[in-house]
Symmetry: C2
Subunit: 280 residues, 2 copies
Amino acid sequence: MIVTIIGLGLIGGSLAISLKEKGLANHIIGLDRNLENLLKAHELGLIDEGTNDLAAAVRRADLVVVAVPMDSMLTVLPQVLDGVERQVVIDVGSTKSMLLAAVAGHPQRGRFVAVHPMAGTEYSGPEAAVPELFTDKTLVICDAEQSDADAVNLVQNLFEQLPMTIEYLDAAAHDLHTAYVSHISHITSFALALTVLEKEKEEQQIFALASGGFASTVRLAKSSPDMWVPIFRQNRVNVLDVLDEHIKQLQHLRHLIATEDYPAVYQRIEQANLIRKILK
Amino acid sequence: MIVTIIGLGLIGGSLAISLKEKGLANHIIGLDRNLENLLKAHELGLIDEGTNDLAAAVRRADLVVVAVPMDSMLTVLPQVLDGVERQVVIDVGSTKSMLLAAVAGHPQRGRFVAVHPMAGTEYSGPEAAVPELFTDKTLVICDAEQSDADAVNLVQNLFEQLPMTIEYLDAAAHDLHTAYVSHISHITSFALALTVLEKEKEEQQIFALASGGFASTVRLAKSSPDMWVPIFRQNRVNVLDVLDEHIKQLQHLRHLIATEDYPAVYQRIEQANLIRKILK
């Protein structure tokens, strides 16, 4: 199978590695509007061939993966579909409702399968690509009934071999759930980093004292604004809703500590501990 | 050296393992007001001997480690010091100002060295004890000038062999910095867990979709209220101060997303990215 990957960052690059390692792609064509990324991806062996000829790269492919930030996705995906006949096209984007609305009327809508691999790190660019990023993670396929059955089958079979677990969700449910389990974690981390950076001027002390707990809570704050601003924009309503609830929870804990109602703080922490049921 | 460890949880238990493995203690006496924990610690081989005779356990020891939650610390530490002559005593607690005030006038104050190993996990109890918990982490020694020089030397030499890096801070600075690099991360995590648990009723979806980012931001929410409520109480002023700043940062990000000022969101994320300088 010939696979064309547009966008050779963390996700596109890691997918290239996995598809090659599992023998699922025998030739990978790469595109990236950033020439430096394209050259780097080639040098790292992520792709067999680099090009800037989108039309030819789509025409020659069996599968086209669009792995660009969500703002570019809204323009690149329709362009790709314009060149599609038999090919299957997937995005790997973090929000779905706005994207699916943007291609709803496209004559080749059936060739497109909207997927979201629930995997990532705080790093970006081709150097961030790693093997095993997707192993044993979940792939969400959204609004599958809008895609041709053969296209959905191809995508499901492919990702099951990485191996990933497939979940089917409609776009609205996807965007709500990801606001909870992904987008809000990033906002919290950004805010926590800003809190520490703005108030704590003695960086050397942070560096010396920061232990594993701090590092794990704040590591997402290293994430790229190029990726995250478009996500917050496209999932704005859900993000604001979850953020309001999170701020309310923080204010409530603050109130309980301020008024020294420690039995209530204890109860809230016991309640929070129930996350053990969900997180291994 | 005979070491008596009072409180056989994550920290006390892990220290027992490290002291034994490095050959720094040849006999470890353990105490825990929870008999089940004491038996478990003995069964796991963390201690050589269990007892409930505090006075004898202090008398026979060269070093006494008090590793109980911060509320119990305020009563247990003075009791231990009452029985001390030549022995060295350390706490391993997360807050210092209130504790040091509590023993300020004690005739044996000089035998006590206040330390805080900047290491931990979200788990508690003797089963949570692990080797290497302290390896290459930082040990803070507080208000060292209040302790006898030989006691400080013994503590420094001991922990340098784990190996740990030693930092000296006064208690007030310690409590401020730990509010930033440890206490606030826990409050954020508790609030995030509560947000998800209260709003997101479809637990199966969280479970399926939650990726590494969510897990790392929320894992601290598994932490024990028995440990954390006393910390928030004893470091209340600093915790409230940092929490106010954190809520302000979240509200600002919320405002920027609500008003769709995405260039400003981008700038804030770029600013947050500077945490890269501090976190590896």
